[in-house]
């Protein structure tokens, strides 16, 4: 299984990323997910979120999750980009792409990846109020 992980303060360019899909003759499904910064956190209106990460551990934990996915589902490729730093409302904070032969495993792996990320990958958010 191919994997590509990017943790960066750079703006996520979904169009550019989609132009580099690693599609093969076996590919039957490409699932992508974009996480967008909402304008509301709880009761507060916000203008942005500041994301902080423990980079070395982030990489390690994502690799563990990728490895678990490869054992559970026949996935061809995973690409994940998580932006850090200050991200404005309506901008993309997370982009995930899962490529597989069938949609069932692609959706399942995507859901698992995001759920596990939220449980154990050390990234924290600080909302910036309007």
């Amino acid at each position: 299984m191919k994997t590509e992980l990017t943790i960066s303060p750079q703006r996520i360019n979904e169009i550019a990323l989609s132009e580099h899909q690693a599609i093969s003759e076996k590919t039957g499904a490409v699932v992508t997910f974009s996480g967008i910064v909402r304008g509301q956190e709880g009761e507060s209106q916000i203008s942005a979120i500041n994301y902080e990460s423990f980079d070395k551990m982030v990489e390690h934990q994502f690799k563990l999750i990728f490895s678990e996915i490869s054992k559970h589902w026949p996935i061809e490729s995973i690409r994940l980009v998580h932006r850090i730093g200050t991200i404005k409302v309506n901008e993309v904070s997370l982009w995930v792409e899962i490529i597989a032969s069938h949609r069932k495993e692609a959706f399942a792996a995507c859901q698992y990846l995001i759920n596990e990320m939220k449980n154990r990958v050390p990234i924290w958010k600080t909302p910036i109020k309007r």
């Binding site: 996480g35 994301y51 902080e52 990460s53 423990f54 070395k56 551990m57 390690h60 934990q61 998580h82 904070s93 997370l94 995001i114 990320m117 939220k118 449980n119 154990r120 990958v121 050390p122 990234i123 924290w124 958010k125 600080t126």
Partner: protein, 81 residues
């Protein structure tokens, strides 16, 4: 032995520092170190039960026995995405 302890997220505000070096006895467990750190930085006590405990880059439980090459991190629940 000396253990480097790092804090992340709002734990930096609660402790007033990103990291500290703590002198501990050989054979100390991660849980015992956590107790010691909460005594030194009492504002962490309220978050004690939800604190995530890490040795180097892996989560560990309170019974993990530390060695002097370990770097410990304490932080609140994560929120990626």
């Amino acid at each position: 032995m000396k253990i480097t302890v790092r804090f992340w997220s709002y734990f930096v505000d609660l402790t007033g520092c990103k990291q500290t070096c703590i002198e501990v006895d050989q054979g100390i467990t991660l849980g015992q170190l956590h107790e010691q750190v909460c005594e030194q930085f009492p504002k962490l006590t309220a978050a004690k039960n939800s604190t995530l405990k890490v040795v180097d880059v892996d989560y560990q439980n309170s019974n993990f026995v530390l060695s002097d090459s370990n770097e410990v991190s304490f932080f609140p629940p994560v929120q990626g995405g």
